[in-house]
Symmetry: C2
Subunit: 401 residues, 2 copies
């Protein structure tokens, strides 16, 4: 079996932890697997380097940043290879370039364009454990590029795809994906399996575990993904294609997003182009909009609501104040949160949304906005009820069972 | 004027010191020079990384070590480029690969084979300040290689040669080459000029300032070398070709080497091959021999003396004990030191050696061994007289004048 392991920053945070990773890789090797390991920078290293750069300017050149930041993963890859060799294993460390990863030109947020797996295949065939510096590749000019935050997950998934690996195991300090945040609901349970789409919708639950871009890529390349802890032998969570079996489970998880502020535009003229005008304006100001809700209007006008992250609430407020036509008024509320219920089972089962509305009503929680997709229901409520809503929903869908 | 600057680890030890280097480069730029800057890793970084590797094994694979260690210089190069850009200068950071440096295959002690200066020339022509990560290149397979300790000096000299730069300025925390160690003789004076050969003979005086290999390369490529401090505006010392003018100066410096232990083999048979046998044996045991002295013998036998570093004294002793033929006896003394007098003027002036012997005798310092080369006289004496000998010789040759 050919397996790609990926170890995040906390898993390789110091030499003792690299020793621990060495043990895990060695064990998998002894079990007979061919292994490619992708590593992140030691935890804290990337932020330290960013801090150095920001000493000089808040906007360092992206090309230089890539040269700077790519060094962290190179260090870890070299160290892990050295550690494995010290234990008598045949290992070889490769940079992104060495592993054949070619990216777009966009420094600091490059996308992988192609992977030439020949060097890796040759090393695997020669019996070597291949260690690859994550987060990086080279553009067509041969300059080092990086893939953005969480880019090592992306490297791992892309390499697993290019190598046609049997599975890709993403190790962090969390042992899988939970039905909700255990800090909010102590009865939260680890999921054995979850679909790519559910994982994407639950991204905030998995943010510390798996980056969304890597889940998207795994889905596209059909890479079997495991989220596991490098500090335990727990089986982790398998993220894979949707199966019929999954649909028997109505809901996989509930998730709270407290980083939300609500903007409601009242009495918006019901004529074409208004929404486009508003959201183009917000986009041009680099304000990230999350939920957008517009109902059918009455009397030639409608209400238009949207949410933005807290950090962009003030900017959104200022910007909207300058919007002086075709609306009657607006109000803002930064004391809101979003609770979401996610599950592929919703597709085939009715009543999932009704259950959510009912149990929240029973707890006297007023729902300000509702938005649904095929596998997700999101509700904006007063932020002070966020945790209560999560516990209520978690119980209602029997996620603790 | 095209100038190569090289800044060592202490000169770029933290962001404030990189800021200081930025000021120096900016000033040179404002004066109208084209500038290529070669940088070392921030002080302590390389040792930190070596420490990490040695946690796993005392003999890490050299290929991995190169990937590991080359990261330090990349970080500094990127940071200095960012700092210059933040000040409004057009700068570009290059790795060894980017600067076109191709080396031999020998990981961790590669030699530069060729430099393709086109990328640097293009950047210079475009008005950019070029910042190059020192200490590294790539071999023909495209793997990163490093040039060994002090390799950044070598990078700087080699780049200056390839670019046909007008001069190469090596910055450290010392402002030049002194007539002797100022900690021994407070009247030591900074030299304005010294020849390549003298610099090589005085290597222990200049060890903190300039690595011997880079002086040799500068001599070969005829690169005008300045040793300067990055913490002052002192003019530094010019290391260059010998000139007639220099020969008027009898002696450039005197130097003390306390890391010496003496081995004397008494009554060595005066037949061919004995010395070869002894030194082959020592070489095979990786014992580094410094001075070797053999006089014409009498009565078919002679005395053979040599010195080794303290750390190898015990090994040399053990090894020689196993040598059981063709010698009458041996004695060892680890309480010795070597004092050397260096100067191109010796070539054309007689009496330099005589002065040394006379003044040491006047101080009741017994000379145990003498060895001379064209521009150097070395004497082994009791180590307790080392400092006194240096001060005596320094005064005798009027080096404080």
């Amino acid at each position: 079996m050919l397996v790609v392991h990926k170890y995040g920053g906390t898993s390789v945070g110091d030499v003792e932890r690299i020793e621990n990773v060495t043990n895990r890789v060695a064990k998998a090797r002894e079990a007979g697997d061919d292994i490619v390991v992708v590593v992140s920078a030691m935890s804290g290293e990337t932020n330290k380097l960013i801090g150095f750069a920001e000493h000089f300017t808040k906007e360092p050149a992206k090309k230089e940043m890539d040269m700077l930041l790519s060094s962290g993963e190179r260090v870890t890859a070299a160290l892990l290879s050295i550690a494995l060799q010290a234990r008598g294993y045949d290992a070889i460390a490769m940079t992104g370039r060495g592993a054949g990863i070619v990216t777009t030109d966009s420094h600091t947020y490059a996308r992988i364009e192609s992977i030439d797996p020949r060097a890796m295949h040759a090393a695997i065939k020669a019996g070597k454990i291949v260690i690859v510096a994550g987060f990086q590749g080279v553009n067509k000019d041969g300059s080092v590029t990086t893939l953005g935050r969480g880019g090592s997950d992306l490297s791992a998934v892309a390499l697993a795809g290019a190598l046609k690996a049997d599975q890709c195991e993403i190790y962090s300090d969390v042992d899988g994906i939970y039905t909700t945040d255990p800090r909010i609901e102590p009865n939260a349970k680890k999921l054995d399996t979850i679909s790519y789409d559910e994982m994407l919708e639950l991204s905030s639950l998995g943010a510390k575990v798996l980056q969304s871009r890597s889940v998207e890529l795994a889905k596209k390349l059909n890479v079997k993904l495991y989220a596991k802890s490098s500090f335990s032998d727990n089986v982790g969570t398998l993220i894979t294609e949707e199966s019929e079996n999954m649909e028997e489970v109505l809901v996989s998880g509930v998730v709270l997003d407290k980083n939300q502020a609500r903007v409601t535009l009242r009495g918006v003229s019901d004529r074409p182009g208004i929404a486009a005008e508003i959201f183009t304006m917000l986009a041009e100001a680099n304000i990230h909009v999350d939920m957008i809700i517009q109902n059918m209007g009455t009397d030639g006008s409608t209400n238009l609501g949207f949410t933005v992250p807290h950090s962009e609430h003030e900017n959104a407020k200022k910007l909207m104040a300058s919007f002086d036509h075709d609306i009657e008024g607006m109000d803002f509320d930064e004391h809101v949160c979003k609770v979401s219920v996610v599950g592929v089972g919703m597709k085939s089962h009715s009543g999932v949304a009704a259950t959510a509305f009912t149990v929240l009503a029973n707890s006297n929680i007023n729902i300000q906005m509702i938005s649904t997709s095929e596998i997700k229901i999101s509700m904006v409520i007063d932020e002070k009820y966020g945790e209560l809503a999560i516990r209520t929903l978690h119980e209602a869908y029997e996620l603790d069972k």
